[in-house]
Amino acid sequence: MRTRRGLCYPRVVEDKNMRVVKRRRDFAAEQVSYRKRSRNSSDIAGKRDLFDSLPDDLVISILCKLSSSATCPSDFANVLLTCRRLNGLGLNSLVLSKTSQKTFAIRAKNWSEFAHRFLKLCADAGNVEACYTLGMIRFYCLHNRGSGASLMAKAAISSHAQALYSLAVIQFNGSGGTKNDKDLRAGVALCARAAFLGHIDALRELGHCLQDGYGVRQNITEGRRFLVQANARELAAVFSTSANPTRPLFTWNPLPLPHPHPHPRTMNSGGGGGGGCPLLSDFGCNVPAPEAHPANRFMSEWFEARAGIPGPGLRLCSHVGCGRPETRRHEFRRCSVCGTVNYCSRACQALDWKMKHKAECTPTERWVDEDGDGEGNGNGNGDNGGDGGGEDGVNGNDDVMLDS
């Protein structure tokens, strides 16, 4: 440990008559041994080793700033390779606790015990992003459900919006357990907390839950309000994060709504607030996709390397930005119109609809379900209007009917 016992300051002749009385710091009390600064070893070609002149706590301050502004893992790791002192101080818990989200953007092909250990160190130091990222990786990729969920819970307690939403998805689907482990009310509660923190997917999910009375008492107007708010936030996010002024933020082609047939929900609920809410893309406003969180990107890459099959008979969420796998057969629900894609949540369905699926979704006749389960409902009457296709509970009767 090196502290500032005056060695680091420029040497001048001290006037003994002048004594500065300082209230805050008492240098005399610091009885820490210090490394003798030997000019010879720290000079390279006569140049002063600049870091040598700084005490440890200032170097830690610099490294904190570095870790919190790093844009990729190598920005941070390069420093660890320079010398022993920077390596030691770089792994100080204060530095690790401030590490940015982008530092954890590990490529799945580079995954190793060392990467795992680094994430663990950061999570132990209290880094919320590390807790979330490691939690997701452990839960979905390493199949360690308990540890993964508890890490995500730790992040969620610190009001990490993505962690709250991920836990909500786990509750809605009963991931890691059986179908009976679904806890819809817990899912809605977690979703609500994430939504109030401004998480767009959670807002959408909550909006749909309210409209359907799924895990919460039905309130169509309130649900619609949330869906509208999700659209608004999506647009606002584009404006606030636009860094490149030359590239257009989004394209807007005012088109008539692509599916003019009446919305089934409006028929059922008889006027009132109406059913789902159109996405921005239905008005021709194509907002670019939000940047994927490092954890989601990791999972996408991880399962891509495993040929897109997370396990026997298991599928991935068809929204490529999500990357979540099923943890048991038929966990995810599929598009009721075409039945070829499935999603972990309605938020993913909405996102995928406007990115990709709207163009390719075509009603198909399904006589025989290849998994051998009965059809939840007939085909074709799923609304393929604004809220992005119907969702169909594959294990028919138990799930709430999202379309009728």
Binding site: K22, R24, K47, L54, S69, N78, T82, C83
Partner: protein, 246 residues
Amino acid sequence: MASSSTSVVVSNKEKENKNTKKVTLKSSDGESFEVDESVAMESQTIKHIIEDGHYSSLALSLSVKTTMASSSTSVVVSNKEKENKNTKKVTLKSSDGESFEVDESVAMESQTIKHIIEDGCANNEIPLPNVTSGILSRVIEYCKKHKEAAGESEPSVTSYTSNSTTNPLTEWDTEFVKVDQNTLFDLILAANYLDIKGLLDLTCKTVADMMKGKTPQEIRETFHIKNDYTPEEEAEVRKENQWAFE
């Protein structure tokens, strides 16, 4: 009020020893108050009288009783005194003997100096044995600029203009840290010693930005860091951190 209107005669009297002009204000019941001209100019009425140059002969009808006059004068005086107090100066002495006189409010940007002043130990100069004159002058420049900026803008305005790309203070900061490395590191040490959070954050961030995006060898060359790894250690550390590289 039915009191007779009395003139308030404002007279101009020059003091021999000081250059401060004094004026005498006379209340309606005859009591005179002698105040500095600058203090009296707090009153716009008196200011116009003085500026118009008619003070020697102008009679002004004011029914201002002594008590009211004295209270208003004391208010005027105290306002001016407060203004004077704001321009109270302190002297900082660097390690190589050079003295710098700065406004007290500017010097109080440094928590260290603030505590010295509050403890009442700042009657003479404040010696700073760990800061050289070159660095001290830069630090004072920083404090002055930030004090001005804090004084000018409304709190609500700063929150909207805190966008780093448009804030003029940020531009000034960026120019401020364009110095050679030795100076930069000395600024870090000085900011730490003087406990100036803004300067410390700024300089640390600058160094951090210099380290970003470079390979380890480039970082070593930039900061003249000695590579004290043995070849085996280096290979091991490289292996441990291989996950971070593409």
